[in-house]
Protein backbone atom coordinates (compact mmCIF):
# COMPACT_ATOMS: atom_id res chain seq x y z
CA UNK A 1 0.00 0.00 0.00
CA UNK A 2 1.32 3.40 -0.91
CA UNK A 3 2.01 5.92 1.78
CA UNK A 4 0.17 9.26 1.78
CA UNK A 5 1.41 12.22 3.78
CA UNK A 6 -0.26 15.61 4.25
CA UNK A 7 0.98 19.13 4.76
CA UNK A 8 -0.65 21.70 7.01
CA UNK A 9 -1.48 23.55 3.79
CA UNK A 10 -3.67 20.63 2.68
CA UNK A 11 -1.46 19.22 -0.03
CA UNK A 12 -0.82 15.51 -0.06
CA UNK A 13 2.14 13.52 -1.33
CA UNK A 14 1.66 9.88 -2.19
CA UNK A 15 4.95 8.09 -2.35
CA UNK A 16 5.54 5.59 -5.14
CA UNK A 17 9.17 4.58 -4.92
CA UNK A 18 11.27 7.74 -5.32
CA UNK A 19 8.38 9.58 -6.92
CA UNK A 20 5.82 11.65 -5.05
CA UNK A 21 2.39 12.25 -6.52
CA UNK A 22 1.10 15.61 -5.31
CA UNK A 23 -2.39 17.02 -5.15
CA UNK A 24 -4.81 18.63 -2.75
CA UNK A 25 -6.69 16.73 -0.11
CA UNK A 26 -10.33 15.74 -0.29
CA UNK A 27 -10.93 18.12 2.57
CA UNK A 28 -9.32 20.98 0.64
CA UNK A 29 -11.37 20.44 -2.51
CA UNK A 30 -14.53 20.52 -0.41
CA UNK A 31 -13.49 23.85 1.04
CA UNK A 32 -12.69 25.34 -2.35
CA UNK A 33 -15.89 24.29 -4.05
CA UNK A 34 -16.16 23.66 -7.78
CA UNK A 35 -12.71 23.68 -9.36
CA UNK A 36 -12.81 25.19 -12.84
CA UNK A 37 -9.15 25.36 -13.80
CA UNK A 38 -5.77 24.11 -12.69
CA UNK A 39 -2.66 25.93 -13.87
CA UNK A 40 -0.09 23.16 -14.08
CA UNK A 41 3.67 23.53 -13.67
CA UNK A 42 6.10 22.75 -16.50
CA UNK A 43 7.77 19.38 -16.52
CA UNK A 44 11.43 19.75 -15.58
CA UNK A 45 10.93 22.56 -13.09
CA UNK A 46 13.07 22.12 -10.00
CA UNK A 47 11.19 22.88 -6.81
CA UNK A 48 12.19 23.69 -3.31
CA UNK A 49 9.76 22.91 -0.58
CA UNK A 50 7.33 25.82 -0.28
CA UNK A 51 7.68 27.05 -3.87
CA UNK A 52 4.52 28.14 -5.61
CA UNK A 53 3.94 25.42 -8.15
CA UNK A 54 0.37 25.53 -9.40
CA UNK A 55 -2.80 27.57 -9.17
CA UNK A 56 -6.18 26.05 -8.51
CA UNK A 57 -9.13 28.14 -9.53
CA UNK A 58 -12.71 27.97 -8.46
CA UNK A 59 -15.15 30.40 -10.04
CA UNK A 60 -14.62 33.05 -7.42
CA UNK A 61 -11.17 32.37 -6.04
CA UNK A 62 -7.69 31.38 -7.08
CA UNK A 63 -5.51 29.46 -4.66
CA UNK A 64 -1.80 28.99 -5.05
CA UNK A 65 -0.44 25.54 -4.44
CA UNK A 66 2.90 25.43 -2.60
CA UNK A 67 5.00 22.37 -3.17
CA UNK A 68 5.13 20.34 0.04
CA UNK A 69 8.36 18.68 -1.06
CA UNK A 70 11.53 19.47 -2.99
CA UNK A 71 12.48 17.86 -6.27
CA UNK A 72 11.97 17.93 -10.02
CA UNK A 73 8.58 17.86 -11.69
CA UNK A 74 8.58 14.79 -13.91
CA UNK A 75 4.96 14.62 -14.97
CA UNK A 76 1.83 16.74 -14.77
CA UNK A 77 -1.78 15.61 -14.92
CA UNK A 78 -2.77 16.77 -18.41
CA UNK A 79 -6.24 15.32 -17.90
CA UNK A 80 -7.02 18.31 -15.69
CA UNK A 81 -6.83 20.61 -18.71
CA UNK A 82 -9.97 19.04 -20.09
CA UNK A 83 -11.61 18.04 -16.86
CA UNK A 84 -10.58 20.14 -13.86
CA UNK A 85 -13.54 18.68 -11.99
CA UNK A 86 -11.40 15.60 -11.37
CA UNK A 87 -9.94 17.50 -8.45
CA UNK A 88 -13.40 17.58 -6.94
CA UNK A 89 -14.50 14.07 -7.80
CA UNK A 90 -11.26 12.22 -7.13
CA UNK A 91 -8.83 14.58 -5.41
CA UNK A 92 -6.51 11.89 -4.10
CA UNK A 93 -6.74 9.67 -7.16
CA UNK A 94 -7.29 10.82 -10.75
CA UNK A 95 -7.29 14.42 -9.55
CA UNK A 96 -3.54 14.42 -8.78
CA UNK A 97 -1.68 17.49 -10.03
CA UNK A 98 1.98 16.66 -10.59
CA UNK A 99 4.60 14.04 -9.91
CA UNK A 100 7.93 14.96 -8.47
CA UNK A 101 11.25 13.12 -8.21
CA UNK A 102 11.93 13.74 -4.56
CA UNK A 103 15.31 15.21 -3.77
CA UNK A 104 14.92 15.02 -0.02
CA UNK A 105 12.76 12.14 1.05
CA UNK A 106 13.14 13.06 4.71
CA UNK A 107 10.86 16.02 4.15
CA UNK A 108 8.03 13.52 4.28
CA UNK A 109 8.85 12.75 7.90
CA UNK A 110 7.66 16.19 8.94
CA UNK A 111 4.30 15.66 7.26
CA UNK A 112 1.12 14.19 8.74
CA UNK A 113 -0.18 10.71 8.14
CA UNK A 114 -3.86 9.93 7.51
CA UNK A 115 -4.80 9.83 11.16
CA UNK A 116 -2.95 13.00 12.08
CA UNK A 117 -4.45 14.84 9.13
CA UNK A 118 -7.96 13.71 10.01
CA UNK A 119 -7.35 15.08 13.47
CA UNK A 120 -5.93 18.28 12.01
CA UNK A 121 -8.99 18.96 9.88
CA UNK A 122 -11.66 17.99 12.37
Amino acid sequence: MSKTKYSTDHEYVRLEGEVGMVGISIYAQEQLGDIVYVELPNVGVKLSKGDEVAVIESVKAASELYSPVSGEVIEVNEALNDDPALVNTDAQGNGWIYKVALSNISELDEMMDDAAYTDFTS
Binding site: D9, I24, A28, L32, G33, Y37, V59, A61, S63, E64
Partner: protein, 511 residues
Protein backbone atom coordinates in the same frame (compact mmCIF):
# COMPACT_ATOMS: atom_id res chain seq x y z
CA UNK B 1 -1.88 25.93 -0.59
CA UNK B 2 -3.48 29.09 0.59
CA UNK B 3 -7.02 27.69 0.71
CA UNK B 4 -8.51 30.76 -0.80
CA UNK B 5 -12.19 30.03 -0.51
CA UNK B 6 -13.30 33.62 -0.44
CA UNK B 7 -16.46 34.26 -2.30
CA UNK B 8 -19.75 32.67 -2.83
CA UNK B 9 -21.45 29.60 -4.19
CA UNK B 10 -21.54 29.70 -7.94
CA UNK B 11 -23.46 26.73 -9.11
CA UNK B 12 -27.20 26.88 -9.45
CA UNK B 13 -28.81 24.31 -7.25
CA UNK B 14 -31.12 22.48 -9.59
CA UNK B 15 -33.23 20.68 -7.04
CA UNK B 16 -34.10 23.70 -4.97
CA UNK B 17 -35.10 26.05 -7.74
CA UNK B 18 -36.52 23.67 -10.31
CA UNK B 19 -39.97 24.81 -9.25
CA UNK B 20 -39.23 28.01 -11.08
CA UNK B 21 -40.01 26.21 -14.29
CA UNK B 22 -43.69 26.81 -13.81
CA UNK B 23 -43.21 30.58 -13.78
CA UNK B 24 -43.32 31.56 -17.40
CA UNK B 25 -41.76 34.72 -18.70
CA UNK B 26 -44.24 37.48 -18.32
CA UNK B 27 -45.81 38.88 -21.46
CA UNK B 28 -43.53 41.89 -21.27
CA UNK B 29 -40.38 39.83 -20.82
CA UNK B 30 -40.14 37.57 -23.85
CA UNK B 31 -37.11 35.41 -24.51
CA UNK B 32 -34.91 37.09 -27.09
CA UNK B 33 -32.79 34.98 -29.41
CA UNK B 34 -29.27 36.01 -30.31
CA UNK B 35 -28.62 38.49 -33.08
CA UNK B 36 -26.98 35.63 -34.95
CA UNK B 37 -30.18 33.62 -34.80
CA UNK B 38 -32.51 36.34 -36.03
CA UNK B 39 -30.33 38.32 -38.43
CA UNK B 40 -29.64 37.57 -42.05
CA UNK B 41 -26.53 37.89 -44.16
CA UNK B 42 -28.54 39.72 -46.83
CA UNK B 43 -30.25 42.00 -44.29
CA UNK B 44 -29.18 45.54 -43.57
CA UNK B 45 -30.69 48.51 -41.77
CA UNK B 46 -28.44 51.10 -43.41
CA UNK B 47 -28.75 52.46 -46.94
CA UNK B 48 -25.44 53.04 -48.68
CA UNK B 49 -24.48 53.61 -52.27
CA UNK B 50 -22.99 50.72 -54.15
CA UNK B 51 -19.66 51.79 -55.67
CA UNK B 52 -17.31 50.30 -58.21
CA UNK B 53 -13.74 50.04 -57.00
CA UNK B 54 -10.71 48.37 -58.47
CA UNK B 55 -7.80 46.87 -56.60
CA UNK B 56 -5.26 49.50 -57.67
CA UNK B 57 -4.40 50.55 -54.11
CA UNK B 58 -5.14 47.35 -52.21
CA UNK B 59 -1.81 45.61 -52.69
CA UNK B 60 -3.42 42.19 -52.88
CA UNK B 61 -4.71 42.42 -49.31
CA UNK B 62 -8.43 42.09 -50.09
CA UNK B 63 -10.48 40.21 -47.57
CA UNK B 64 -11.15 36.60 -48.44
CA UNK B 65 -12.24 35.41 -45.00
CA UNK B 66 -15.98 35.46 -44.47
CA UNK B 67 -17.33 38.05 -42.05
CA UNK B 68 -20.20 36.03 -40.58
CA UNK B 69 -22.01 39.17 -39.50
CA UNK B 70 -25.76 38.98 -39.85
CA UNK B 71 -27.68 42.23 -40.27
CA UNK B 72 -31.03 43.54 -39.11
CA UNK B 73 -33.38 46.04 -40.70
CA UNK B 74 -34.02 49.09 -38.54
CA UNK B 75 -37.32 47.83 -37.06
CA UNK B 76 -35.81 44.42 -36.29
CA UNK B 77 -32.81 46.11 -34.73
CA UNK B 78 -34.89 48.34 -32.49
CA UNK B 79 -36.97 45.42 -31.39
CA UNK B 80 -33.93 43.26 -30.61
CA UNK B 81 -32.23 45.85 -28.44
CA UNK B 82 -35.42 47.10 -26.80
CA UNK B 83 -36.38 43.55 -25.87
CA UNK B 84 -32.91 42.85 -24.54
CA UNK B 85 -32.93 46.08 -22.57
CA UNK B 86 -36.01 44.93 -20.68
CA UNK B 87 -33.97 42.15 -19.13
CA UNK B 88 -31.83 44.73 -17.30
CA UNK B 89 -32.33 46.40 -13.96
CA UNK B 90 -31.42 50.11 -14.06
CA UNK B 91 -31.24 53.07 -11.69
CA UNK B 92 -34.09 54.74 -13.51
CA UNK B 93 -36.27 51.73 -12.69
CA UNK B 94 -35.43 51.30 -9.03
CA UNK B 95 -33.04 51.62 -6.13
CA UNK B 96 -29.66 50.12 -7.00
CA UNK B 97 -27.82 50.21 -3.67
CA UNK B 98 -24.50 48.76 -4.76
CA UNK B 99 -21.98 49.75 -2.11
CA UNK B 100 -18.85 51.47 -3.40
CA UNK B 101 -20.39 51.77 -6.88
CA UNK B 102 -22.45 54.92 -6.24
CA UNK B 103 -25.45 54.31 -8.43
CA UNK B 104 -26.88 57.78 -8.26
CA UNK B 105 -29.28 59.49 -10.64
CA UNK B 106 -27.83 60.33 -14.05
CA UNK B 107 -29.28 63.73 -15.06
CA UNK B 108 -30.49 63.91 -18.64
CA UNK B 109 -29.18 67.42 -19.10
CA UNK B 110 -25.74 65.79 -18.99
CA UNK B 111 -26.63 63.58 -21.93
CA UNK B 112 -27.88 66.54 -23.90
CA UNK B 113 -24.73 68.56 -23.28
CA UNK B 114 -22.41 65.70 -24.21
CA UNK B 115 -24.18 65.44 -27.55
CA UNK B 116 -23.81 69.07 -28.56
CA UNK B 117 -22.01 69.05 -31.89
CA UNK B 118 -19.43 71.46 -30.49
CA UNK B 119 -18.31 68.71 -28.09
CA UNK B 120 -19.28 65.43 -29.79
CA UNK B 121 -18.34 66.28 -33.37
CA UNK B 122 -14.82 67.61 -32.90
CA UNK B 123 -11.66 65.68 -33.59
CA UNK B 124 -8.90 65.25 -30.99
CA UNK B 125 -6.24 66.24 -33.50
CA UNK B 126 -7.83 69.24 -35.14
CA UNK B 127 -5.91 72.49 -34.65
CA UNK B 128 -6.02 73.70 -31.07
CA UNK B 129 -7.09 77.11 -32.34
CA UNK B 130 -10.34 75.53 -33.53
CA UNK B 131 -11.27 73.88 -30.22
CA UNK B 132 -10.74 76.62 -27.66
CA UNK B 133 -14.19 75.94 -26.19
CA UNK B 134 -13.29 72.29 -25.57
CA UNK B 135 -10.09 73.28 -23.78
CA UNK B 136 -12.06 75.81 -21.76
CA UNK B 137 -14.47 73.06 -20.73
CA UNK B 138 -11.61 70.75 -19.67
CA UNK B 139 -9.93 73.61 -17.84
CA UNK B 140 -13.11 74.53 -15.99
CA UNK B 141 -13.72 70.95 -14.89
CA UNK B 142 -10.09 70.76 -13.75
CA UNK B 143 -10.62 73.91 -11.73
CA UNK B 144 -13.67 72.46 -9.96
CA UNK B 145 -11.77 69.27 -9.14
CA UNK B 146 -8.76 71.15 -7.76
CA UNK B 147 -10.95 73.54 -5.80
CA UNK B 148 -13.08 70.78 -4.24
CA UNK B 149 -10.00 68.79 -3.26
CA UNK B 150 -7.80 71.77 -2.42
CA UNK B 151 -4.99 70.61 -4.65
CA UNK B 152 -2.99 72.49 -7.22
CA UNK B 153 -2.77 70.08 -10.13
CA UNK B 154 -4.93 67.53 -11.86
CA UNK B 155 -4.26 65.06 -14.61
CA UNK B 156 -7.36 64.70 -16.74
CA UNK B 157 -6.45 61.90 -19.14
CA UNK B 158 -7.05 58.69 -17.10
CA UNK B 159 -9.91 56.74 -18.61
CA UNK B 160 -11.27 55.08 -15.47
CA UNK B 161 -10.63 54.76 -11.75
CA UNK B 162 -8.06 52.00 -12.15
CA UNK B 163 -6.37 53.98 -14.92
CA UNK B 164 -6.23 56.90 -12.48
CA UNK B 165 -4.54 54.63 -9.96
CA UNK B 166 -1.92 53.81 -12.56
CA UNK B 167 -1.48 57.52 -13.22
CA UNK B 168 -1.02 58.44 -9.56
CA UNK B 169 1.28 55.54 -8.80
CA UNK B 170 3.38 56.19 -11.91
CA UNK B 171 3.77 59.79 -10.76
CA UNK B 172 4.87 58.52 -7.35
CA UNK B 173 7.34 56.13 -8.94
CA UNK B 174 8.77 58.90 -11.11
CA UNK B 175 9.06 61.26 -8.14
CA UNK B 176 10.89 58.64 -6.09
CA UNK B 177 13.29 57.92 -8.93
CA UNK B 178 13.94 61.64 -9.34
CA UNK B 179 14.87 61.81 -5.66
CA UNK B 180 17.22 58.86 -5.91
CA UNK B 181 14.72 56.74 -3.99
CA UNK B 182 14.02 54.28 -6.79
CA UNK B 183 14.97 51.36 -4.56
CA UNK B 184 11.72 51.65 -2.64
CA UNK B 185 9.80 48.52 -3.60
CA UNK B 186 6.88 48.16 -1.20
CA UNK B 187 3.38 49.60 -1.31
CA UNK B 188 1.19 49.40 1.77
CA UNK B 189 -2.41 48.44 1.07
CA UNK B 190 -5.08 47.86 3.72
CA UNK B 191 -6.70 44.46 3.41
CA UNK B 192 -10.11 46.06 2.95
CA UNK B 193 -8.92 47.77 -0.24
CA UNK B 194 -10.53 47.30 -3.61
CA UNK B 195 -8.70 44.74 -5.75
CA UNK B 196 -7.49 47.37 -8.17
CA UNK B 197 -5.15 48.83 -5.52
CA UNK B 198 -2.90 45.79 -5.11
CA UNK B 199 -3.24 45.06 -8.84
CA UNK B 200 -2.04 48.57 -9.66
CA UNK B 201 0.89 48.35 -7.28
CA UNK B 202 1.90 44.99 -8.72
CA UNK B 203 1.48 46.33 -12.27
CA UNK B 204 4.25 48.81 -11.51
CA UNK B 205 6.49 46.15 -10.02
CA UNK B 206 5.81 46.92 -6.38
CA UNK B 207 5.37 44.31 -3.71
CA UNK B 208 2.22 44.67 -1.67
CA UNK B 209 2.38 44.74 2.12
CA UNK B 210 -1.07 44.31 3.66
CA UNK B 211 -2.21 46.45 6.55
CA UNK B 212 -4.95 44.97 8.71
CA UNK B 213 -7.98 46.96 9.76
CA UNK B 214 -8.66 47.25 13.48
CA UNK B 215 -11.81 46.06 15.18
CA UNK B 216 -13.53 49.31 14.25
CA UNK B 217 -12.97 48.75 10.54
CA UNK B 218 -10.33 51.43 10.11
CA UNK B 219 -6.56 51.52 9.89
CA UNK B 220 -4.57 52.41 13.02
CA UNK B 221 -1.68 54.78 12.58
CA UNK B 222 0.36 52.35 14.72
CA UNK B 223 -0.25 49.56 12.21
CA UNK B 224 1.01 51.81 9.43
CA UNK B 225 4.07 52.92 11.41
CA UNK B 226 4.90 49.29 12.15
CA UNK B 227 4.88 48.56 8.42
CA UNK B 228 6.93 51.59 7.37
CA UNK B 229 10.57 51.39 6.51
CA UNK B 230 13.06 52.68 3.97
CA UNK B 231 11.65 50.31 1.34
CA UNK B 232 8.13 51.72 1.38
CA UNK B 233 7.25 53.75 -1.68
CA UNK B 234 3.69 54.62 -0.84
CA UNK B 235 0.49 53.76 0.92
CA UNK B 236 -2.71 53.30 -1.05
CA UNK B 237 -5.54 54.16 1.29
CA UNK B 238 -9.21 54.51 0.45
CA UNK B 239 -10.92 57.29 2.38
CA UNK B 240 -13.76 57.06 3.23
CA UNK B 241 -12.86 53.38 3.17
CA UNK B 242 -14.65 50.40 1.66
CA UNK B 243 -16.32 49.67 4.99
CA UNK B 244 -18.09 53.01 4.63
CA UNK B 245 -16.03 54.62 7.38
CA UNK B 246 -13.92 57.76 7.47
CA UNK B 247 -10.35 56.95 8.49
CA UNK B 248 -9.95 58.98 11.70
CA UNK B 249 -6.15 58.66 11.70
CA UNK B 250 -5.79 59.72 8.09
CA UNK B 251 -3.77 62.86 8.81
CA UNK B 252 -1.45 61.02 11.18
CA UNK B 253 -1.05 58.26 8.61
CA UNK B 254 -0.17 60.81 5.93
CA UNK B 255 2.40 62.41 8.22
CA UNK B 256 3.95 59.08 9.15
CA UNK B 257 4.22 57.99 5.52
CA UNK B 258 5.74 61.32 4.51
CA UNK B 259 8.19 61.22 7.41
CA UNK B 260 9.31 57.81 6.20
CA UNK B 261 9.93 59.20 2.72
CA UNK B 262 6.87 57.65 1.07
CA UNK B 263 3.86 59.09 -0.71
CA UNK B 264 0.15 58.89 0.03
CA UNK B 265 -2.06 57.63 -2.77
CA UNK B 266 -5.70 58.07 -1.85
CA UNK B 267 -8.31 55.97 -3.63
CA UNK B 268 -11.04 58.55 -4.15
CA UNK B 269 -13.80 56.09 -5.04
CA UNK B 270 -15.81 57.36 -2.10
CA UNK B 271 -15.16 61.08 -2.41
CA UNK B 272 -18.90 61.54 -2.88
CA UNK B 273 -19.36 61.21 0.90
CA UNK B 274 -17.20 64.18 1.82
CA UNK B 275 -17.12 66.54 -1.14
CA UNK B 276 -17.73 70.11 -0.17
CA UNK B 277 -16.99 69.20 3.45
CA UNK B 278 -13.47 67.80 3.56
CA UNK B 279 -10.68 68.57 1.10
CA UNK B 280 -8.40 65.58 0.50
CA UNK B 281 -5.55 68.02 -0.08
CA UNK B 282 -5.89 69.05 3.56
CA UNK B 283 -5.48 65.41 4.62
CA UNK B 284 -2.00 65.20 3.14
CA UNK B 285 -2.72 63.17 0.04
CA UNK B 286 -0.25 63.24 -2.84
CA UNK B 287 -2.52 61.77 -5.48
CA UNK B 288 -6.17 60.80 -5.64
CA UNK B 289 -8.33 59.67 -8.52
CA UNK B 290 -11.90 60.81 -8.77
CA UNK B 291 -14.40 58.47 -10.38
CA UNK B 292 -16.51 60.86 -12.42
CA UNK B 293 -18.95 58.01 -13.02
CA UNK B 294 -19.55 57.67 -9.31
CA UNK B 295 -19.21 61.03 -7.64
CA UNK B 296 -20.17 63.23 -10.58
CA UNK B 297 -23.06 61.25 -12.04
CA UNK B 298 -21.90 60.11 -15.45
CA UNK B 299 -23.82 56.99 -16.42
CA UNK B 300 -22.39 53.55 -15.71
CA UNK B 301 -23.65 52.30 -19.05
CA UNK B 302 -23.70 48.61 -18.11
CA UNK B 303 -19.99 48.70 -17.27
CA UNK B 304 -18.36 51.81 -18.61
CA UNK B 305 -17.02 54.05 -19.95
CA UNK B 306 -15.84 55.78 -16.80
CA UNK B 307 -13.32 58.52 -16.21
CA UNK B 308 -10.70 58.89 -13.50
CA UNK B 309 -8.94 62.26 -13.34
CA UNK B 310 -6.21 62.39 -10.70
CA UNK B 311 -5.52 65.35 -8.47
CA UNK B 312 -1.87 65.74 -7.51
CA UNK B 313 0.09 67.43 -4.77
CA UNK B 314 2.75 70.00 -5.58
CA UNK B 315 5.39 67.31 -5.07
CA UNK B 316 3.91 65.11 -7.79
CA UNK B 317 2.60 67.71 -10.22
CA UNK B 318 5.81 67.94 -12.29
CA UNK B 319 5.56 64.23 -13.08
CA UNK B 320 1.99 64.34 -14.43
CA UNK B 321 1.40 62.67 -17.79
CA UNK B 322 0.78 64.49 -21.04
CA UNK B 323 -1.44 65.93 -22.34
CA UNK B 324 -2.57 68.84 -20.23
CA UNK B 325 -4.14 72.20 -20.90
CA UNK B 326 -2.00 75.29 -20.41
CA UNK B 327 -3.51 78.68 -19.95
CA UNK B 328 -1.77 81.90 -20.90
CA UNK B 329 -4.09 84.84 -20.68
CA UNK B 330 -7.27 83.90 -22.47
CA UNK B 331 -5.39 81.59 -24.80
CA UNK B 332 -5.54 77.88 -24.08
CA UNK B 333 -2.98 75.47 -25.45
CA UNK B 334 -2.45 71.77 -25.18
CA UNK B 335 0.89 70.34 -24.04
CA UNK B 336 1.13 67.02 -25.85
CA UNK B 337 4.81 66.10 -25.56
CA UNK B 338 7.06 65.23 -22.68
CA UNK B 339 10.07 67.00 -24.22
CA UNK B 340 12.54 67.69 -21.42
CA UNK B 341 9.98 67.82 -18.64
CA UNK B 342 9.74 65.34 -15.75
CA UNK B 343 6.40 64.00 -17.04
CA UNK B 344 6.28 60.24 -16.79
CA UNK B 345 4.76 59.91 -20.25
CA UNK B 346 1.38 59.31 -21.84
CA UNK B 347 -1.43 57.07 -20.58
CA UNK B 348 -3.71 57.14 -23.57
CA UNK B 349 -3.93 58.40 -27.12
CA UNK B 350 -5.64 61.79 -27.27
CA UNK B 351 -6.86 63.71 -24.23
CA UNK B 352 -9.09 61.59 -22.01
CA UNK B 353 -12.81 60.97 -21.59
CA UNK B 354 -14.10 64.28 -22.91
CA UNK B 355 -17.65 62.96 -23.21
CA UNK B 356 -17.59 62.22 -19.49
CA UNK B 357 -16.11 65.62 -18.67
CA UNK B 358 -19.02 67.47 -20.26
CA UNK B 359 -21.50 65.40 -18.28
CA UNK B 360 -19.65 65.90 -15.00
CA UNK B 361 -19.30 69.61 -15.51
CA UNK B 362 -23.04 69.89 -16.20
CA UNK B 363 -23.64 68.07 -12.90
CA UNK B 364 -21.27 70.40 -11.00
CA UNK B 365 -22.68 73.57 -12.50
CA UNK B 366 -26.20 72.36 -11.77
CA UNK B 367 -25.44 71.66 -8.12
CA UNK B 368 -22.98 74.44 -7.48
CA UNK B 369 -20.87 74.46 -4.34
CA UNK B 370 -23.95 74.60 -2.11
CA UNK B 371 -25.58 71.67 -3.88
CA UNK B 372 -22.44 69.58 -3.88
CA UNK B 373 -22.21 69.90 -0.11
CA UNK B 374 -25.87 68.95 0.14
CA UNK B 375 -25.21 65.90 -2.05
CA UNK B 376 -22.60 64.67 0.43
CA UNK B 377 -24.89 65.42 3.35
CA UNK B 378 -27.83 63.57 1.82
CA UNK B 379 -25.70 60.59 0.79
CA UNK B 380 -24.48 60.24 4.38
CA UNK B 381 -27.93 60.93 5.80
CA UNK B 382 -29.48 58.20 3.66
CA UNK B 383 -26.86 55.61 4.54
CA UNK B 384 -27.21 56.30 8.24
CA UNK B 385 -30.99 56.20 7.98
CA UNK B 386 -30.75 52.73 6.42
CA UNK B 387 -28.23 51.79 9.12
CA UNK B 388 -30.48 52.69 12.07
CA UNK B 389 -33.52 51.17 10.46
CA UNK B 390 -31.81 47.84 9.75
CA UNK B 391 -29.31 47.44 12.54
CA UNK B 392 -31.73 45.94 15.03
CA UNK B 393 -32.01 42.85 12.87
CA UNK B 394 -29.00 43.02 10.56
CA UNK B 395 -25.54 42.76 12.07
CA UNK B 396 -23.31 45.78 11.62
CA UNK B 397 -19.83 44.64 10.67
CA UNK B 398 -18.05 47.10 12.93
CA UNK B 399 -20.47 47.92 15.67
CA UNK B 400 -22.82 50.78 16.33
CA UNK B 401 -21.12 53.80 14.82
CA UNK B 402 -22.08 56.41 12.28
CA UNK B 403 -21.14 55.54 8.73
CA UNK B 404 -20.38 57.68 5.75
CA UNK B 405 -22.20 57.15 2.43
CA UNK B 406 -22.57 53.38 2.76
CA UNK B 407 -23.27 50.92 5.53
CA UNK B 408 -21.63 47.54 5.94
CA UNK B 409 -23.33 44.50 7.46
CA UNK B 410 -21.92 41.01 7.82
CA UNK B 411 -23.77 37.70 7.69
CA UNK B 412 -23.73 36.88 11.40
CA UNK B 413 -27.46 37.64 11.63
CA UNK B 414 -27.99 34.81 9.17
CA UNK B 415 -25.93 32.32 11.14
CA UNK B 416 -27.75 29.04 11.58
CA UNK B 417 -30.57 30.01 9.21
CA UNK B 418 -29.15 28.17 6.23
CA UNK B 419 -29.52 31.39 4.25
CA UNK B 420 -26.31 32.85 2.82
CA UNK B 421 -25.61 36.41 1.78
CA UNK B 422 -25.98 35.20 -1.80
CA UNK B 423 -29.40 33.72 -1.11
CA UNK B 424 -30.43 36.91 0.61
CA UNK B 425 -29.30 39.00 -2.34
CA UNK B 426 -31.21 36.83 -4.78
CA UNK B 427 -34.36 37.14 -2.65
CA UNK B 428 -34.01 40.93 -2.83
CA UNK B 429 -34.33 40.60 -6.60
CA UNK B 430 -37.76 39.05 -6.11
CA UNK B 431 -38.73 42.14 -4.12
CA UNK B 432 -37.79 44.36 -7.05
CA UNK B 433 -34.45 45.60 -5.75
CA UNK B 434 -31.02 45.36 -7.22
CA UNK B 435 -28.99 43.66 -4.47
CA UNK B 436 -26.36 45.53 -2.51
CA UNK B 437 -22.67 44.80 -3.04
CA UNK B 438 -22.01 41.39 -1.56
CA UNK B 439 -18.89 39.58 -0.39
CA UNK B 440 -16.93 42.82 -0.58
CA UNK B 441 -14.96 44.06 1.26
CA UNK B 442 -13.27 40.74 1.91
CA UNK B 443 -12.47 41.56 5.53
CA UNK B 444 -15.90 40.66 6.86
CA UNK B 445 -17.81 37.43 6.48
CA UNK B 446 -20.57 37.50 3.87
CA UNK B 447 -20.38 41.26 3.50
CA UNK B 448 -23.47 43.27 2.54
CA UNK B 449 -22.48 46.79 1.59
CA UNK B 450 -25.41 49.15 1.03
CA UNK B 451 -25.02 52.55 -0.61
CA UNK B 452 -28.34 54.28 -1.21
CA UNK B 453 -26.81 57.52 -2.62
CA UNK B 454 -28.38 60.95 -2.32
CA UNK B 455 -30.83 60.20 -5.12
CA UNK B 456 -33.25 58.08 -3.08
CA UNK B 457 -36.28 59.63 -1.42
CA UNK B 458 -37.31 58.90 2.14
CA UNK B 459 -40.33 56.97 0.86
CA UNK B 460 -38.12 54.72 -1.24
CA UNK B 461 -35.75 54.15 1.65
CA UNK B 462 -38.62 53.33 4.00
CA UNK B 463 -40.05 50.82 1.55
CA UNK B 464 -36.60 49.33 0.98
CA UNK B 465 -35.94 49.01 4.71
CA UNK B 466 -39.39 47.52 5.38
CA UNK B 467 -38.76 44.85 2.80
CA UNK B 468 -35.22 44.18 3.96
CA UNK B 469 -36.44 43.67 7.53
CA UNK B 470 -39.23 41.42 6.32
CA UNK B 471 -36.69 39.31 4.43
CA UNK B 472 -34.32 39.15 7.39
CA UNK B 473 -37.06 38.16 9.78
CA UNK B 474 -38.25 35.54 7.36
CA UNK B 475 -34.75 34.07 7.14
CA UNK B 476 -34.42 34.04 10.90
CA UNK B 477 -37.86 32.43 11.22
CA UNK B 478 -36.60 29.57 9.08
CA UNK B 479 -38.53 30.23 5.88
CA UNK B 480 -35.60 29.17 3.79
CA UNK B 481 -37.35 28.23 0.56
CA UNK B 482 -37.99 31.73 -0.72
CA UNK B 483 -34.25 32.37 -0.42
CA UNK B 484 -33.01 29.13 -1.91
CA UNK B 485 -35.41 29.37 -4.84
CA UNK B 486 -34.76 33.02 -5.50
CA UNK B 487 -34.90 34.71 -7.83
CA UNK B 488 -38.28 33.43 -8.93
CA UNK B 489 -39.51 36.51 -10.70
CA UNK B 490 -36.43 37.45 -12.68
CA UNK B 491 -36.11 36.60 -16.38
CA UNK B 492 -33.76 33.77 -15.43
CA UNK B 493 -33.16 31.66 -12.35
CA UNK B 494 -29.66 31.42 -10.89
CA UNK B 495 -27.00 30.83 -13.47
CA UNK B 496 -24.39 28.12 -13.44
CA UNK B 497 -21.13 30.01 -13.25
CA UNK B 498 -19.16 26.81 -12.73
CA UNK B 499 -20.27 25.48 -16.09
CA UNK B 500 -19.43 28.82 -17.73
CA UNK B 501 -15.89 28.72 -16.35
CA UNK B 502 -15.19 25.01 -16.89
CA UNK B 503 -16.29 25.00 -20.50
CA UNK B 504 -15.90 28.61 -21.61
CA UNK B 505 -18.16 29.49 -24.52
CA UNK B 506 -17.23 33.04 -25.32
CA UNK B 507 -18.78 33.52 -28.74
CA UNK B 508 -21.65 32.21 -30.77
CA UNK B 509 -20.89 29.51 -33.27
CA UNK B 510 -23.16 27.73 -35.71
CA UNK B 511 -24.22 24.54 -34.01
Amino acid sequence: MNMNSTGRPTRADKTSSSKNAEIKSAALLPDEPLLFEIGGYEHSGVDLFEVEINDEFLGGFERKTSLDLPGLSEPECLRHYVRLSRLNMSIDAGIYPLGSCTMKHNPRLNEKIARLAGFADIHPLQPVSSVQGALEMIDELALWLMELTNTSAVSMSPKAGAHGELCGMMAIKAALEAKGQGHRSIVLVPDSAHGTNPATAAFLGYKVRSIPANKNGVVDVEAVIAALDDDVAAIMLTNPNTCGLFEPDVIKIADAVHDAGGYFYCDGANFNAIMGLVCPGDLGIDAMHINLHKTFSTPHGGGGPGAGPVVLSKALAPFAPVPFVKKSGSDLSLIEHVNDSDSFGRLTAFHGQIGMFTRSLAFMLSHGKDGITQVAYDAVLNANYVRVRLQKVFSLAFGDQACMHEVLFDDSFLKGTGVSTLDFAKAMIDEGFHPMTMYFPLVVSGAMLIEPTESESKKTLDYFCDKMLELANDAIAGNVDRFKQAPKYAPLARLDETLAARQPKLKWTKS
